[in-house]
Each structure stands twice: as structure tokens, then as C-alpha cells.
């Protein structure tokens, strides 16, 4: 049966058909749906882990125990999981072990656009790269086979356009793969210097064998057409190339590390002009250059952002699309914003009012950096808010700590914020950490986490008590506050930043998009009472609109959270029904 599947859904299908038994992940766009779809198969144990490092360790454990196992993450998640990855490369596997990593060229939803192939090269781990949903499933199954045949973890690298595009996939049955026996083998699984020194040469040898495999594997194929132009490409760039160049010759690489050097040499010798088309880093191109093969690639195409057929046509073939209209408007951008009713709005309104330096983190609340809230000062990576606030204090002294807070979401705090908090307590810092507890992992589309009390399957479980956790690491000042109670919240922040000891404020209010959150009646502005002071505009609520001579509330967007009624000094905002 053929079915239209999202790339990530096809990966999940591949995991199912490959007979895998264990999957662990931390959500991250564009990889999240892989594990959400895996969770729909009851034959596979699946879970949300607190972070990518734990997720990979769970998968490694399952593999050593004999099961086919996998984990999924976004590109920056692989940095977190790099520690187990580099050494799992030495131990190799028992049951097949596959790591799905989704890169985000163009940074649709990320803080950088690093290229996973570079990390894989450092870790000496093979990489497969599918170019559509059908290959997502095929390559996933192939990855498990390669993993077991060559005793190695395998990375399947996706990019946003493959992960988040739907295409037709032929569904097959699940292979019932038996769990392999577990045999104690410290020389393979205990990586201390003496054992690791013996494993590393095996890893080098394995890469050589994988290079030979790449030469003859059906993963890499030549599609002959006109030989005036030859294109070496992989992943989504293959699709763009096919559309831009049409019927020329292609070396389509499904395995991008290690590369099939003989195949590349043969292909290069039979075409007149050779191009390498790959998004991000010149990975294939550098390999060609090392081999002394003349190619054109990054000299014409960027190492930044996504490609498209149009871009390739323009940069390489010199064909530019004409403009067919006389529309030459200045079009205002539409950046993402905190939703109407978002609990973070109250927090940032207060932090901005108090003119605090805000060390920020990764999540919806990163949007607190943009106008008009303009509150967040820094954002680097998951968990960085706390360590950085501590660093600011150590650099500039106690007085600076009195004007600084770290803000971090509940899920991000569990991911890697708790270690930063321990650092503050242990090293006698006095920083204030605000945990924005909206009771969900928000930006990635509502995944449960250890602080929500539910598993990926929606089953009830032990819930991490954030207050007790902070107290347990030695924070004596921990308080829970509703960020929509602006007065009380402001008082709490003032007191905690003034305290000369570490403190935590748990700003607790659920995400407005959660199904159980009841929305109020939309509000409206009484033009008689409104003095146009625009205090409400400072909240940056997308539902409040400035029409120049008056302000109004867009009732299609307003969820009746009533935060604006709390900042209005003239009682001009009331339930919209009142004005009808």
C-alpha cells in the first residue's frame, strides 16, 4: 500500500519495519515528529528523555543488550549527545543502533546551522542521507543493516525540507528481528584507555571497509543523461538539482560518509563539466578537491541557508526569474510572536519594567527578545541562561547579580539547567533563576517532559517537583508565582534579585494552547475611557491593534486572558460583549 507520509513519519515507519524495539529522544524541530510517530507503534518502546545525551545512552544500552534501537534529535542536540556518540563509535553495537539527526539549513527554528556530516566525520560514524519520504523509510532499514554488519552506530541525516515534506511511501510489514543474546565483553564495552586503544584501530579499519561498501552500495547510484554536465549531490539538493538541470548526469549519493572515491572518480572522468550541489558545508566538494578532481560548487553557491531549484538555476545556469508584476511594496515582516494569552508575556513585561539584564534560553520564551518586550539579552544554547547569569555575576560582581536574572523553561531546566543551578549554589553565586513553568515543552509542539507528570504515551508517571528539586541542590529561596499576577510577581522578582543568596522563582501558568486551558470571553476597548496612553501596547499582544486614532482588540485572536486589563490605568478594557 502506498501512503503519503511526512519524512519524519516515514522514518518512524522504517524503524517499525526494521523490527526496532527501543526509541528515545528529546524533542527538537525539525526532528520531533520522528519519535511522536514511533510512539504510535506499540511494538516499540518509546520515550522522551530529559536530553539528547540521555536519549543516546538509552539507545546504546538497548543496543548493547541486543535490541535494534534508535534515537532522534535536531542538529544541535547532537552536540549534547556528542560525548556518548564519539565513544559508542569505539564500542560498536550488538543490536543495530541508528541515530536520526535533523539539520536546519536556513534556521527555520534553530540558533545555528551546523552540518552534522562534520561531526560524523570526527566521530568516524557512517552517514546516510535520504532525499524524500520513500528514501527516509528505505534508508532507515538499510541503516540498521549496516549498523549490525559493520558493528557501528549509523547516523541518518535529514534536513528540514526532507523531515517536513510529505511524499509517497510503499508500506511493508514489520520484520520480526529477534533480540540478540547479551554476552559480557569488557574489551568491547568498557572504554578505559587499555581497551579503547585496542578499539580505535578497529574503528579505522571499519571506516576503510565502509568506504569499499560505499563503492558498490545501491545507496549511491549514477543516473546517466547528457554528459556535458555531471552533478554530484545528495539529500534534498538532489531534488533541486533534478529540477534545475533536467536531463543531465547525476551521481546521487545516499551514503555521504564515507564517500565512494572510486565511483566519484569514474563519474568525474565521464562528464565534461562537474558540479557538486550540497547545502551547508563543502563536504563532498572538499573530498573531490582532496582527490584532485576539479569541481564547481561553493564558488557559486552559498554555505549559508537553504537551496532551491531557482537558486541553482540562477547561480549556475544564469537564468533569473523575471518579475511579472508592478508590485513594489515595502512589506512589513511577520516575525513569530508570543501567542495571545501566553504566560511568558507577564514575566517579560515585569522584567522589562524593572530594567533587568535577562540571560535567556531556548524555547518559545526566546521571543521575549523582540519588540516591544525587548527583554531577553542573551540566548546561546539549551540551559545556558543559568551558567551565563552566574558568569555575569563573577565578572561584574554582586551588584550586577542584583540586576540580572536567568529565565529558562521547565523542559529546558530539566534538559540542562539544573547543572547550572548546582554550579551557582556550589560556587557561592547569588543569581536569581526564573523557571518559566508552562507545564509543557512548548515550541516544539507540546511534548510531555519529566515535569509534566505524563509519558510520551500519555500515561501518568512520577512528576519532577521543581520546587523540591531546587531546594535539594541547596537553594533556600524558592517561591512559586503566577506571572499574570503582575503585582505579586514584580514584588517577588524585586525581593529575589535583592537577596544575597541564590534564588529561584517558579513562574507557573500553563501554556495558553493546552487543551485544558479555559479561554475567557474576548475583550474590547471602551473608546470613551481609553486615553491612548498605550500601556497595553507594551505587552506585545498580537490581539491589541493600534489604529492610530484609537486602539482596538482583534476579537478573533483575543483569548480573554485579561492581562491587558491589569496594565490599563483607566479601566478601559472590558469583555467585548459589553460593547455590542
Amino acid at each position: 500500500m502506498r501512503k503519503l507520509l511526512l519524512g519524519n513519519e516515514a522514518i518512524a515507519r522504517g524503524v517499525y519495519e526494521a523490527g526496532a524495539r527501543v526509541a528515545s529522544a528529546y524533542p527538537g524541530t525539525p526532528s520531533t515528529e520522528i519519535t511522536e510517530y514511533i510512539a504510535k507503534y506499540d511494538d516499540i518502546y518509546s520515550e522522551w528523555a530529559p536530553n539528547e545525551k540521555v536519549a543516546l545512552e538509552v539507545a546504546i544500552g538497548a543496543s548493547v543488550a541486543g535490541a535494534r534501537a534508535c534515537c532522534a534529535m535536531k542538529h544541535v542536540g547532537l552536540n549534547v549527545a556528542a560525548d556518548p556518540l564519539f565513544t559508542a563509535s569505539y564500542t560498536g553495537v550488538n543490536g543495530g543502533l541508528v541515530i536520526f539527526v535533523a539539520d536546519d539549513p536556513g534556521m527555520h527554528s534553530s540558533q545555528n546551522e551546523q552540518d552534522t556530516r562534520i561531526i560524523a566525520m570526527g566521530a568516524k560514524v557512517p552517514v546516510l542521507e535520504p532525499s524524500d519520504s520513500s528514501e527516509c523509510k528505505e534508508f532507515t532499514k538499510k541503516a540498521f543493516e549496516i549498523s549490525e554488519e559493520f558493528d557501528t552506530p549509523v547516523i541518518v541525516r535529514l534536513t528540514t525540507r526532507v523531515a517536513h515534506s510529505q511524499g509517497l511511501v510503499e508500506l511493508e510489514d514489520r520484520d520480526e528481528v529477534e533480540i540478540k543474546p547479551y554476552v559480557r565483553d569488557p574489551s568491547k564495552y568498557v572504554m578505559m584507555p587499555g581497551m579503547a586503544r585496542k578499539r580505535h584501530p578497529l574503528v579505522v579499519e571499519r571506516m576503510k571497509k565502509l568506504s569499499e561498501y560505499a563503492e558498490n552500495s545501491e545507496l549511491n547510484r549514477i543516473e546517466w543523461g547528457d554528459t556535458k554536465i555531471g552533478v554530484i549531490t545528495s539529500g534534498i539538493s538532489y531534488q533541486y538539482s533534478r529540477e534545475a538541470f533536467g536531463d543531465v548526469s547525476y551521481l546521487k549519493l545516499g551514503m555521504v560518509h564515507p564517500l565512494p572515491e572510486k565511483l566519484i572518480r569514474e563519474f568525474a572522468s565521464r562528464v565534461e563539466k562537474l558540479y557538486v550541489i550540497e547545502e551547508l558545508e563543502p563536504f563532498i566538494e572538499n573530498c573531490c578537491l582532496r582527490m584532485g578532481i576539479k569541481v564547481t560548487g561553493k564558488e557559486l553557491l552559498p554555505v549559508i541557508g537553504e537551496y532551491s531549484a531557482g537558486l541553482i538555476r540562477e547561480r549556475i545556469l544564469g537564468i533569473r526569474e523575471e518579475k511579472l508584476n508592478n508590485i513594489d511594496e515595502n512589506i512589513p515582516p511577520r516575525p513569530p510572536v508570543l501567542c495571545p494569552g501566553c504566560p511568558h508575556r507577564g514575566t517579560f513585561y515585569v522584567l522589562k519594567k524593572l530594567k533587568l539584564t535577562v540571560s535567556g534560553d531556548i524555547g518559545c520564551y526566546t521571543l521575549g527578545a523582540v519588540a516591544p518586550l525587548n527583554s531577553v539579552d542573551t540566548t546561546v544554547c539549551m540551559g545556558a541562561s543559568i551558567g551565563m547569569a552566574h558568569g555575569m555575576e563573577k565578572a561584574r560582581g554582586r551588584e550586577a547579580a542584583g540586576k540580572t536574572v536567568a529565565v529558562i523553561g521547565d523542559s529546558t531546566f530539566i534538559h540542562s539547567g539544573i547543572t547550572g543551578l548546582i554550579d551557582i549554589v556550589y560556587n557561592k553565586g547569588t543569581s536569581t533563576v526564573i523557571i518559566l513553568d508552562n507545564s509543557i515543552t512548548g515550541m516544539t509542539g507540546h511534548q510531555d517532559n519529566p515535569a509534566t507528570g505524563y509519558t510520551i504515551k500519555g500515561e501518568q508517571t512520577k512528576q519532577v517537583d521543581l520546587k523540591k528539586l531546587c531546594e535539594a541542590v541547596g537553594v533556600e529561596r524558592v517561591r512559586i508565582c503566577d506571572p499574570y499576577d503582575l503585582e505579586e510577581f514584580e514584588k517577588a522578582v524585586r525581593e529575589e534579585v535583592a537577596a544575597k543568596e541564590p534564588s529561584v522563582i517558579i513562574a507557573r501558568r500553563p501554556c495558553a494552547l493546552l487543551r485544558y486551558v479555559r479561554h475567557g470571553e474576548p475583550l474590547g476597548i471602551d473608546r470613551e475611557k481609553c486615553r491612548m496612553c498605550r500601556m497595553c501596547m507594551r505587552l506585545g499582544c498580537p490581539a491589541i491593534v493600534d489604529r492610530g486614532e484609537h486602539l482596538e482588540i482583534n476579537t478573533a485572536l483575543c483569548v480573554g486572558c485579561e492581562l491587558c486589563t491589569r496594565v490599563c490605568r483607566f479601566d478601559a478594557i472590558e469583555k467585548a460583549g459589553v460593547f455590542q
Partner: protein
């Protein structure tokens, strides 16, 4: 049938994802190759979102290029303007008349462009403007804007009405099927008042 390219543009939260899934299912029912490129993550938080649907004999790139869209389905006026270069000169440009101010306009650092519909109509003879928000309200939910728009689009594709209705039944929750079919029919039977 030659390859058809459809672009759906709007504001995060307007239901463009469901729209593209229904279109994808219709293409599958017709036995065509199809690719649908979606947007997840940050821009779903009220940002500008664009979804591509391509169907035909064999589809490579999931992305629609400038001057290539046979149908540009716009859920919001400013977004229609932002992506208008992607429409074919004789392509159908279907615009919901709804306006949603982006944050730079809300805070007064930019102006919402004027006379958008006129400008688009002047350049693209096949433009249809649809008061989809009002129509959706009349069906019982402002959330049905997307299905009203699908209805308007459906009649311009020449694809059998039943195929569309099946795709809708497949993609919406059972309790909302009747409301959505009402919204689809209202869109399908819509005639622009000129």
C-alpha cells in the same frame, strides 16, 4: 495532467497544515505523484507560514519557485502580497480578505500596506477575493476559514467534488465533519461580487 503547483500562505495558527494535508490526500486519490512541504516549529507562533503542494507524473523538488504557482491560496492579505511573485501570470490567486497585523505594524514601526487586493487584481487577472472569515463564522466556527478556502480552490481545479469531500472526512475529527462540509460547500458555491 501537467504538474500542478499550489502554494498556501498565511499566518501561523490559521490552519494551513490541515489544508495542505487535504490537498495531498486529493492528489493521492487521483493516483498522482505528490509532495507537500510543511512548516513546523517557530513560525507556527504567529509568523508568516508557507506550505507547498506539488502534484503530477513525477515530482522532484517539494518547493514551488517564483512565477510557478498555478494556485496561490492566501489566508491573509499581507501574506498574499508577500508571496505574490510566486504566482503564475495566469494562475489563480485566491485571497481571504482577512487582515492580521504583524507585530511591526502593531507597535507602529511599520505600516500595513493599503489597497492590497486592488494591486493584486491589477496584475493577476485570475484573482478571487473571498470573505472567508465571515463565511466561516456563518458555518459556526472561525476555525473553518481554511476549509472555506479549500472549497473556493476546489471548484477551480476541475477535480470531482466527492474526492474533496472524502479527503475532508478523512482529515477532520468526526465531531467537526458536518461543520467543515458546510464550510467547504459554501466556499465551493462562492461567487465573487464584482
Amino acid at each position: 495532467m501537467s504538474n500542478k503547483s499550489i502554494m498556501i500562505v498565511g499566518v501561523g495558527g490559521q490552519g494551513t497544515l490541515l489544508t495542505s494535508r487535504i490537498l495531498g490526500d486529493v492528489a493521492v486519490s487521483l493516483g498522482l505523484d505528490v509532495k507537500v512541504s510543511e512548516v513546523h516549529g517557530m513560525s507556527q507562533r504567529g509568523g508568516s507560514v508557507v506550505t507547498y503542494v506539488k502534484m503530477g507524473e513525477k515530482i522532484y523538488s517539494p518547493i514551488v519557485e517564483k512565477n510557478e504557482a498555478d494556485i496561490l491560496l492566501c489566508f491573509e492579505q499581507l501574506e498574499a502580497l508577500r508571496w505574490i511573485d510566486y504566482a503564475k501570470k495566469d494562475g489563480a490567486v485566491i485571497v481571504n480578505t482577512q487582515m492580521i497585523d504583524p507585530m511591526p505594524v502593531i507597535i507602529g514601526s511599520a505600516k500595513y500596506p493599503e489597497n492590497i487586493l486592488e494591486k493584486i487584481k491589477e496584475n493577476y487577472p485570475n484573482t478571487i477575493t473571498v470573505p472567508a472569515l465571515e463565511m466561516a463564522k456563518a458555518c459556526g466556527s472561525t476555525k473553518a476559514v481554511n476549509v472555506v478556502m479549500i472549497g473556493v480552490l476546489a471548484r477551480r481545479t476541475g477535480i470531482d467534488r466527492e474526492i474533496w469531500l472524502d479527503a475532508i472526512r478523512k482529515n477532520v475529527k468526526p465531531q467537526f465533519v458536518d461543520m467543515n462540509i458546510k464550510a467547504f460547500n459554501m466556499g465551493y458555491d462562492f461567487e465573487e461580487v464584482r
